[in-house]
């Protein structure tokens, strides 16, 4: 189940006001290198204890623990320098597991009918807190709720304290990319327990002069978390009582009987005996040999976008800046390479063009002569083409002779022509004028039919002959002999559309 959190983190941390009214001891000089060191420095400052470790790709490289108690910023400055010197850390990224009196965690109930309402409520609530205590960095972590309200754990870090912390880091060229409370690695440890999904488990962890208690199931939000002002091992009886109260609280508030209790870190037999004696509901009490370095390793292995981070906004800002910078470097380098390539190509082509122009200038007389020759050649060719076109245009199709040949083929045997005339129409009218005169042997009706058939065949011929009614009048000449047929004179006058 994904945790939903709200947070308020300044994104422009490098522009934050310089830290601290309180003077910070001058940092030791660190070697500056433009080459990027991808190692990460993990710090755990937990109620007076200070641990540091260097991680490379989520594996521990080296560790260091402050031999003295670290309670103030000045103590931290000294301890940090000691850690940097001991670990020879050359990178810049730092995460911090912080438990401090100026870093508070308080459970809150918020309206749960919408995310916006929850967020709005929390913002208003934090705003009221800021009016009372001054500005804070905050992030909310969802916890289990038995009612119709959203239960969250508000982590509130005094902004001035953060400014001091950040100033301390920046003075040593370190970038604080994560600040997480101790409950974050503890919750991650519950998530990693294979049997914690079915049965809830309670973890108790030493945190300097405090003891932190968290309870929950794997893969779910925490049931609750408590900070007990009692040091580990030296207040065994009191701690055992508080553990039992926590177990009862879980059963009462969440109906979750917790049977397993794990004591993280070194617990002596006295403490174990007290806890077993006081916590009757917990049937399974055991110690887990976990050190702050295990918590730091857990945090180092958390995804970069883990929400419970007081400076998550700065982390995303930094990642965005780093990505932009890489894109910019790649783009500029690519542009330089492409520009160089373009210059080389242009210079080469320019050199060739220069040589060509020089050759052109030297060949001018030859080119002038060639131009003259080609112009004359083309002029002559154009005249020849015009001559050919004109001669072709002057050609007249041999319509008269072909029509005469065609007519001789279709003229009935009973008909003889006495006059045949074909000539072009006058006045540039397209087509040809045709006039036929002749004599047909036969009756007038038969002659008319023969003429009609002749006209039809001539009309359907390629000449597309069209004859008008005028001039078709016939004159019948009686037969000379008794048995002979009369003769009929005819005239056909029309036009040929073929041209």
């Amino acid at each position: 189940m994904a945790e939903r959190v709200n947070m308020s983190t300044p994104a422009n941390l490098p522009d934050a006001p310089p830290a601290a009214a309180a003077p910070i001891p001058a940092p030791q000089r660190r070697r500056f290198s433009l080459m990027r060191d991808d190692n990460v420095l993990g710090l755990a400052w937990i109620h007076g204890e200070f641990h540091a470790a260097v991680y490379r790709r989520q594996d521990t490289v080296d560790t260091w623990t402050s031999p003295t108690s670290v309670t103030t910023i000045d103590d931290l400055s000294v301890a940090l320098d000691g850690a940097l010197q001991a670990l020879k850390f050359g990178g810049t990224d730092v995460f911090l597991i912080l438990e401090h009196e100026r870093f508070q965690h308080q459970p809150e109930q918020a309206p749960a009918f919408s995310e916006t309402a929850t967020r709005g409520f929390l913002k208003a609530h934090v705003s009221r807190i800021e009016q009372e205590r001054g500005p804070v960095l905050w992030v909310s972590q969802k916890t289990q709720s038995q009612r119709n309200e959203a239960s969250v754990l508000l982590h509130l870090l005094d902004a001035r304290f953060y400014a001091q912390l950040n100033g301390l880091m920046l003075a040593r060229r370190l970038e604080l990319t994560r600040i997480v409370p101790l409950v974050v690695p503890l919750h991650a440890m519950i998530d990693a327990m294979p049997d914690a999904r079915e049965q809830p488990v309670m973890l108790a962890a030493p945190a300097g002069r405090m003891t932190i208690v968290v309870a929950g199931r794997a893969g779910q939000p925490l049931l609750f978390t408590r900070s007990i002002l009692a040091p580990w091992n030296t207040a065994a009886e009191r701690l055992a009582v508080e553990f039992n109260r926590s177990l009862l609280y879980a059963k009462q508030q969440f109906s979750e009987p917790i049977e397993r209790l794990r004591l993280l870190g070194q617990a002596d037999e006295v403490m174990l005996g007290e806890v077993r004696a006081r916590c009757s509901t917990a049937q399974d009490v055991a110690t887990l040999p976990v050190s702050p370095f295990d918590w730091m390793l857990t945090v180092a292995r958390l995804p970069a976008r883990h929400r419970v981070n007081l400076v998550a906004g700065y982390l995303s800002y930094k990642q965005r800046q780093r990505f932009l910078r890489r894109v910019l470097v790649a783009t500029c380098t690519l542009a330089l390479v492409l520009s160089a390539l373009e210059v080389v190509l242009r210079v080469q082509s320019g050199s060739q063009e220069r040589e060509r122009l020089q050759a052109l200038a030297e060949a001018e007389p030859v080119m002038r002569a060639e131009q003259q020759r080609l112009a004359e050649r083309n002029l002559t060719a154009a005249e020849h083409a015009a001559l050919i076109a004109e001669a072709e245009a002057a050609r007249i199709p041999p319509v008269p002779s072909r029509f005469l040949a065609f007519l001789a083929g279709v003229l009935p045997a009973e008909m003889r022509l006495t006059s045949f005339s074909v000539k072009p129409h006058e006045d540039h009218v397209p087509g040809w004028f045709v006039r036929l005169e002749g004599v047909a042997r036969g009756e007038q009706d038969a002659t008319q039919e023969m003429l009609a058939e002749l006209e039809r065949r001539l009309a359907q011929s390629p000449f597309r002959a069209v004859f008008g009614p005028r001039g078709r009048a016939t004159v019948v000449i009686p037969a000379d002999e008794l048995d002979a047929l009369p003769r009929v004179r005819f005239t056909l006058e029309g036009g040929l559309l073929e041209n």
């Binding site: 810049t92 242009r346 080119m367 002559t380 072009p424 004599v439």
Partner: protein
């Protein structure tokens, strides 16, 4: 949403030169950090500046100074594209062949008509061909002019197939080496007997001023 230009500039400067973990790094270190971006940018600007302000300008001036030669080269290219050598050769041959189809001058025209009369005689026709005046005065630029020719054909005594011999004759005239166009054909016949054939021809000839071969 208002954009603060100074904020943008500051953001850009920070992006370019921010030293990780050293926000107040001195300007020297910042510039050193920005070198991977600044150097290629500067190099690109210098290269492109030289390319467009020096090299390309020089090339433009060079092209301008050689513009007449380039224009001449272009003109020659266009002249080459107008006709290929083969086209020129073929056109010359075709033009010569066309020119040979027409008699050059009046004398050759009369000789041609006399040839036609002899051809008609070989086909059994007694032909009389008379050349009229030219249709119009040929312009000095014209290489061809036309005259009308009137003719009468009478079948000789031995011509027993006047139709086929006439068609043969007309086809020979049409397909002969010299061109002459048949414009009019009038045939007069009695019943069964051909009397006369009147033809109107158009003869194109090369006028005397254009007889000089080009």
């Amino acid at each position: 949403m208002k954009t603060d230009p100074m904020r943008l500039v500051r953001g850009g400067w920070r992006l370019l030169t921010e030293v990780p973990g050293w926000p107040d790094a001195p300007i020297g270190k910042r510039l050193q950090r920005g070198l991977p971006i600044l150097l290629p940018t500067l190099g690109t600007a210098l290269l492109l500046g030289w390319l467009f302000l020096v090299h390309e300008r020089g090339m433009r001036e060079l092209r301008d100074s050689h513009q007449p030669y380039l224009a001449l080269e272009q003109e020659i290219s266009e002249l080459h594209q107008g006709y290929s050598e083969q086209q020129v050769h073929e056109l010359a041959e075709q033009a010569e062949a066309v020119r040979r189809q027409f008699p050059a001058g009046e004398t050759e025209a009369r000789e041609f008509l006399a040839q036609l009369e002899r051809e008609a005689a070989r086909h059994g026709w007694i032909a009389t061909l008379r050349m009229a005046e030219p249709f119009s005065e040929p312009s000095p630029e014209a290489w061809l002019t036309s005259v009308s020719v009137r003719g009468r054909l009478l079948p000789d005594d031995k011509n027993l197939q006047p139709l086929s011999s006439l068609l043969d004759l007309l086809e020979r005239i049409r397909t002969g080496a010299r061109r002459i166009e048949l414009m009019r054909l009038n045939i007069s016949a009695d019943e069964g007997t051909w009397q006369s054939v009147d033809v109107g021809l158009r003869l194109s000839l090369v006028p005397s001023h254009a007889t000089t071969p080009q």
